[in-house]
């Protein structure tokens, strides 16, 4: 196997393993940490694709800011006590197993896994650098400027809304 492929499998294992552990763990803090591992291995994936900027943003925004905020809320609400979820008889394990078998088959059916062993597309190597992302987002000739600004206005509205709601209560 090529070294790149070995790296891919290690990262894939970490990423999927982290996601699975996030769902299955009973302890909220451990759940959040598993998600952090998943995010970090995603960032490593971006680096293997030469998308350094996307990788850095993935770490700074998701692993660094959002997950710290998650942990903050979990600790603030003191959800930390393990075994909060009572183990009851349910269809959950059965449903999980069935889905874990059916979902990849559906993906196979749609041809998602086809051509995975081929070379990385040549255009991809320059897509994720600082300059490339900036030029794509802000170029007046490309159609992404307006959606991007609209999204930021939407986020601003959300922030203002949160402040208004918090003030009304106080």
């Amino acid at each position: 196997m090529a070294p790149a492929l070995v790296l891919f499998y290690i990262l894939a294992f970490l990423c999927v393993g982290g996601a699975v552990a996030m769902v299955t763990s009973n302890n909220p803090v451990r759940s959040a940490l598993s998600l952090v591992i998943s995010f970090l291995s995603l960032a490593a994936f971006y680096i293997t694709l030469d998308a350094q900027f996307i990788a850095a943003v993935q770490v700074v925004v998701y692993a660094g800011a959002i997950m710290v905020l998650f942990l903050f809320v979990i600790m603030l609400l003191n959800l930390g006590a393990p075994e909060v979820v009572k183990k009851t008889r349910s269809f959950l394990p059965l449903a999980t197993t069935l889905l874990a078998i059916i979902f990849p088959m559906v993906l196979f059916g749609f041809g998602v896994f086809a051509g995975l062993d081929g070379p990385t597309p040549s255009g991809a190597s320059k897509l994720g650098t600082v300059g490339a992302v900036g030029r794509t987002l802000y170029s007046p000739t490309l159609p992404w400027l307006l959606p991007f600004e609209a999204t930021s206005v939407l986020l601003l509205v959300a922030v203002v809304g949160a402040i208004v709601l918090a003030r009304r209560k106080a």
């Binding site: 710290v68 942990l71 650098t129």
Partner: protein, 404 residues
């Protein structure tokens, strides 16, 4: 002065200057491939060997500030006190409380050290000049990873660094520890914004996120005034603390102290309220790991400050006595003055109240940083206009030939 003496002086000066220029190929080995390894040794060697000295500096300086003798028992002027401390911590009983979350309790201190050390990977320690076989000179920054996202990598490392503290606070299963960890998380998230915006002010002007490139961008005449004498090229007046008009460096310096949880922002370990905060339940080498992590973090943010705002390896003036001191010496001097600032502030300022801390971060520093980013973006646009009119392409990329 007689002419022959003058000539020999010139010769001496040239030979010293040439000692800093290495041939690119030495016995068939491409020396530029060895640069990352040299930087790796430099980062690890420097940050780990300077640690005891930092602790000593802090104790002596605090002793001076507080009008005490300071360390004076072990070694001359207490120089061996840190080694004695490490020895003590090494042989101390490693007590582990009963109800901790074992795995996270063990991981947390070492996570702190690991992330703090990894931040050094993108720091440019010095400039290495290679002479190519055809006689042209090539400048390469001495750094482990010459990547295009250096600054973002540093921000990522500093934002991940808080995990060690938060996990320690949570895994200890102690209310004081938990509150300490919570405070650390809130503080780091709040001050990261102002820190990032202050650094962005420089990125706007330098036109690159590569830290080596940012230092090269400071190696110009102040404010692009071409009529200034050449000894001012890359001098103290052309570094970004002045070129970004002073405000960003103040914001960054405040934010970096808050990010590393040091006094006057040391609320996560406020001893009068929280015993010892997040490391209350830690003893022996695990406590030492937190201690080391904190100091390495301080070194990392001071190094970023030195590289981004204070010219990295550049000497304060581009003329005789300064240029003969190697670049890494200047870099270390700049880092150490940052550390001295830390100790000075710790000795003189009282700890902030929690609401004052949040007020400062969100209501003062963040708006100022935003406004300043706006001002500087406009300013650097205006500065580019004459260059464009003259038909010269403003390409910082040309300076970055060393980068990938």
């Amino acid at each position: 002065m007689p002419k022959s003496l003058l000539a020999s002086w010139d010769h001496l000066r040239d030979s010293i200057y040439n000692a800093f220029i290495l041939p690119r190929y030495f016995h068939g080995v491409d020396l530029s491939h060895l640069v990352p390894y040299l930087a790796l040794i430099g980062i690890f060697g420097f940050s780990l060997s300077i640690l005891p000295f930092l602790i000593w500096i802090e104790r002596v300086a605090l002793g001076l500030v507080q009008d005490r003798t300071g360390p004076n028992r072990v070694g001359p002027r207490g120089l061996l006190q840190p080694s004695a401390d490490v020895l003590k911590l090494f042989f101390k009983e490693d007590f582990q409380p009963k109800s901790v979350d074992k795995r996270l309790y063990y991981i947390a201190p070492f996570l702190t050290v690991m992330i703090a050390l990894s931040a050094g990977a993108v720091l440019p320690l010095a400039n290495i000049t290679f002479r190519l076989p055809n006689g042209t000179l090539q400048n390469v920054p001495l750094m482990v990873a010459n990547v295009n996202i250096g600054l973002l990598y540093m921000l990522a490392a500093s934002s991940l660094g808080v995990y060690g503290i938060v996990l320690a606070g949570w895994a200890s299963n102690n209310k004081y520890s938990l509150i300490g960890g919570l405070r650390a998380a809130a503080q780091v998230i709040s001050y990261e914004l102002a820190m990032g915006l202050a650094l962005l002010c420089v990125v706007v002007q330098a036109g690159t996120v590569n830290l080596g490139g940012i230092v090269y961008a400071q190696d110009t005449l102040p404010f692009g005034l071409t009529w200034l004498p050449p000894f001012l090229k890359g001098s103290v007046f052309s570094w970004f603390w002045l070129q970004s008009l002073i405000v960003p460096v103040i914001l960054y310096t405040i934010a970096m102290i808050a990010e590393t949880n040091r006094a006057p922002f040391d609320l996560p370990e406020a001893e009068s309220e929280l015993v010892a905060g997040f490391h209350t339940e830690y003893s022996a080498m695990k406590f030492a790991a937190f201690f080391a992590g904190e100091y390495i973090n301080m070194l990392a943010v001071c190094a970023l400050n030195a590289a981004v705002f204070w010219g990295g390896w550049l000497p304060p003036f581009n003329c005789f006595p300064f240029t003969f001191i190697p670049g890494f010496v200047w870099f270390i001097l700049k880092i150490m003055s940052g550390i001295c600032l830390y100790v000075w502030l710790r000795g003189t300022l009282p700890r902030l109240r929690y609401d004052a801390l949040m007020n400062l971060g969100w209501k003062k520093m963040l708006p100022i940083a935003l406004i300043w980013l706006f001002v500087l973006a406009g300013y650097s646009l205006i500065r580019q206009i004459p260059v464009h009119l003259a038909g010269v392409h403003y390409t910082q990329a040309a300076m970055l030939s060393g980068g990938k």
